[in-house]
């Protein structure tokens, strides 16, 4: 942002921002809509509970997976959810370090999104275990059998990466939240809220030395979170790339996955930004300028993902390896070609509208394009898994994959698992960072004074 174009309207006051943002949890303005959304989300969560009960009772055979397509919806949705989560960290941490002012209105709900998306992602590998009650075998504990986990396997790396990511996201999110919880505590008038915010704000009082230590902890954690995102999704891609399955065994996978993750995640951030600002009347804080920048980032990450598509094809052609070429052909012209072309269509065609400034600044247009990207990336993750697996080396082991009702119900259920805690979070914590918004407003006014 240049100095002259302030991203926040400078006519507002700090007190106004504090009252507006703490007012959302303290005097919740959209009770009815929230109840309707919550009812919908709870229904989905109930669906997940039922699906999990069925799964734990009857086993993974209720899904459409088979040999050779032994990794389908569970792993595909795992990658999709985890990828969505990454954008929250990137917005929060990377843009904090680069000093991008537009981040301050988006980081809180983007981080909240990360947290719950990672939870959704994290349950999938466990559900997929077959015997999920043995998940503790992944941890190095002195077992009576005298064996240890296999640390040279990407499947073992996975649990460390995801748990680290979840913990660091939680710690980063909460650290950023403490000063705002204190602001809400100081505005609360009802006894219940005073106790809730009094305890959760940990007695924060905004002392100079506290801010100093806090800033250092927050910034260095941010600096750690950025490479963490890259490492986690690279590690996820190694689940595929370390294997020898054609279509997976490629060095392009780590960057391809990380960029795709950022792409889908920014799309979901845009969806949430547009929804929240119209829901709670936050146009003064999530301005059209914010949508404009989000649109640009979405376009940029989309084009980088598109580059990944091109290079994936190039990689197969350049290898000249028969199975790789066969998989490429299966992708673009096999029975699952619709997932490939669906991914291309949903990911990249509506995206091109973002070249126009008017489209980027329109909430509706950005919302529709972002939904299209989320769908496209979902198809892409499906395509990468299924088209590689259903026909591998031996013709005798070729098969097909058809998702069953339980595949779909588990997937829809995780949307409930995402939405329920997210809606609760909207209800009880300030969804836009109060102090960072004030800090930014202060800086903008300063600049205004000094010309």
């Amino acid at each position: 942002m240049s100095d002259r174009n302030d991203i926040l309207p400078t006519r507002q006051t700090m007190a106004g921002i504090a009252d507006q943002l703490t007012g959302i949890p303290l005097h919740f303005p959209a009770e009815r809509r929230w109840v309707i959304a919550m009812a919908f989300a709870s229904a989905l969560l109930l669906l997940l509970m039922i699906s999990m009960t069925e799964l734990f009772t009857r086993g993974v055979g209720i899904w459409g997976i088979n040999i050779p397509v032994n990794w389908a919806f569970a792993i595909h949705n795992y990658v999709w959810w985890l990828g969505i989560g990454h954008a929250g960290t990137l917005i929060s941490a990377l843009l904090l370090l680069t000093g991008s002012e537009w981040r301050n209105s988006l980081n809180r709900f983007a981080e909240t999104m990360t947290l719950f998306a990672v939870v959704c992602a994290g349950i999938y590998p466990i559900l997929h275990l077959g015997r999920p009650w043995y998940v503790y075998w992944m941890f190095p504990y002195p077992a009576t059998m005298g064996v240890w986990p296999q640390f040279r396997s990407p499947l073992e790396w996975d649990i460390w990466a995801v748990l680290t990511y979840l913990t660091v996201s939680l710690v980063f999110w909460y650290t950023g939240l403490i000063p705002d919880l204190a602001a809400a505590r100081d505005r609360a008038t009802k006894r219940g809220w005073q106790i809730f915010f009094g305890i959760t704000s940990l007695g924060w009082r905004g002392a100079a030395i506290h801010w100093l230590r806090w800033s250092q902890a927050y910034r260095v954690t941010a600096a750690l979170a950025v490479p963490l995102v890259v490492s986690v999704h690279s590690e996820v891609s190694l689940l595929f790339a370390s294997g020898q399955i054609p279509g997976w065994h490629s060095t392009i996978f780590p960057p391809y996955f990380v960029l795709g993750a950022a792409f889908s995640g920014f799309a979901v951030v845009a969806i949430i930004a547009v929804a929240l600002r119209s829901w709670f009347g936050l146009r003064n804080l999530v301005t059209d300028d914010h949508l404009d920048v989000l649109g640009k980032v979405l376009l940029a990450t989309g084009l980088m993902t598109g580059y990944g598509y091109v290079f994936e094809v190039f990689d197969a052609l350049y290898s000249g390896e028969a199975h790789e070429m066969r998989t490429l052909l299966d992708r673009v012209a096999g029975v699952y070609a619709w997932t490939y072309w669906g991914a291309v269509l949903f990911n990249f065609v509506p995206l091109q509208a973002l070249w126009w400034r008017g489209v980027r600044r329109s909430g509706w247009a950005l919302l529709l394009i972002s939904i299209s990207v989320a769908v496209g990336m979902w198809l892409e993750r499906d395509m990468i898994l299924v088209t590689s697996l259903y026909r591998d080396f031996l013709v005798s082991s070729w098969s097909k994959f058809t998702p069953t009702f339980w595949d779909w119900s588990t997937y829809l259920g995780t949307i409930g698992l995402f939405l329920v805690p997210f809606l609760i979070a909207i209800r009880i914590i300030p969804m836009i960072s109060i102090f960072e918004t004030k800090e930014l407003l202060h800086e903008e006014k300063e600049k205004g004074h000094h010309g």
Partner: protein, 176 residues
């Protein structure tokens, strides 16, 4: 004699006013100063002569601790139960890299936040400063300077007059 107050608060309407007042207070000889602001104010630490925090050092040490723990753990389990997979090396540093990196970050991030809370004396349920009637504005839009009673120059009347003279919009005594 009445109980000794915790300190005297001066409330300022902008961070510039707070910085100016803090500078004046230092110049006047006050040493036990504290400031409460709605967001981190640049330059305040320099005026109040607050030392650079050591959080990042904690982070660095913990990073080494995390990396070392992860590496030792992986080497040990492979030593204790060597799995020969197609004759590949048992101590495969490249395969240990991911978990080592993750634990480096995990230890470092968690230790820094714990250190931040620990050094700040948080969490705590109450603090004398919360008894001040206008203190809650420090999380809204006011900038508060506090002269603590431990200061050798502290005197309820004089300090109050000084703060008002430094441009405070209101001055308040914090009960002990």
């Amino acid at each position: 004699m009445a109980e000794r107050a915790y300190g005297m608060l001066g409330e300022f309407e902008s961070s510039e006013a707070l910085l100016a007042a803090a500078r004046q207070a230092r110049a006047a000889g006050y040493r036990e100063l504290d400031a409460f602001t709605p967001f981190p104010v640049e330059g305040l630490a320099r005026i109040l002569k607050i030392q650079r925090p050591t959080i990042s050092l904690v982070g660095l040490i913990s990073a080494f601790a995390g990396g070392g723990t992860a590496l030792l753990m992986q080497v040990f389990v492979n030593y204790d139960y060597p799995l020969n997979v197609g004759g590949r090396p048992v101590y495969a540093l490249s395969a240990f890299a991911v978990v080592t990196f993750e634990l480096t970050i995990l230890f470092s991030a968690v230790a820094m936040v714990v250190a931040m809370l620990w050094q700040n004396g948080l969490p705590r349920l109450n603090h004398p400063i919360f008894a001040a009637a206008r203190f809650h504005l420090a999380s809204k839009d006011r900038f508060i300077l506090c002269v603590k009673s431990e200061d050798p120059m502290f005197d309820e009347q004089e300090t109050a007059v000084f703060l008002a003279g430094a441009g405070a919009a209101s001055v308040e005594r914090v009960p002990p």
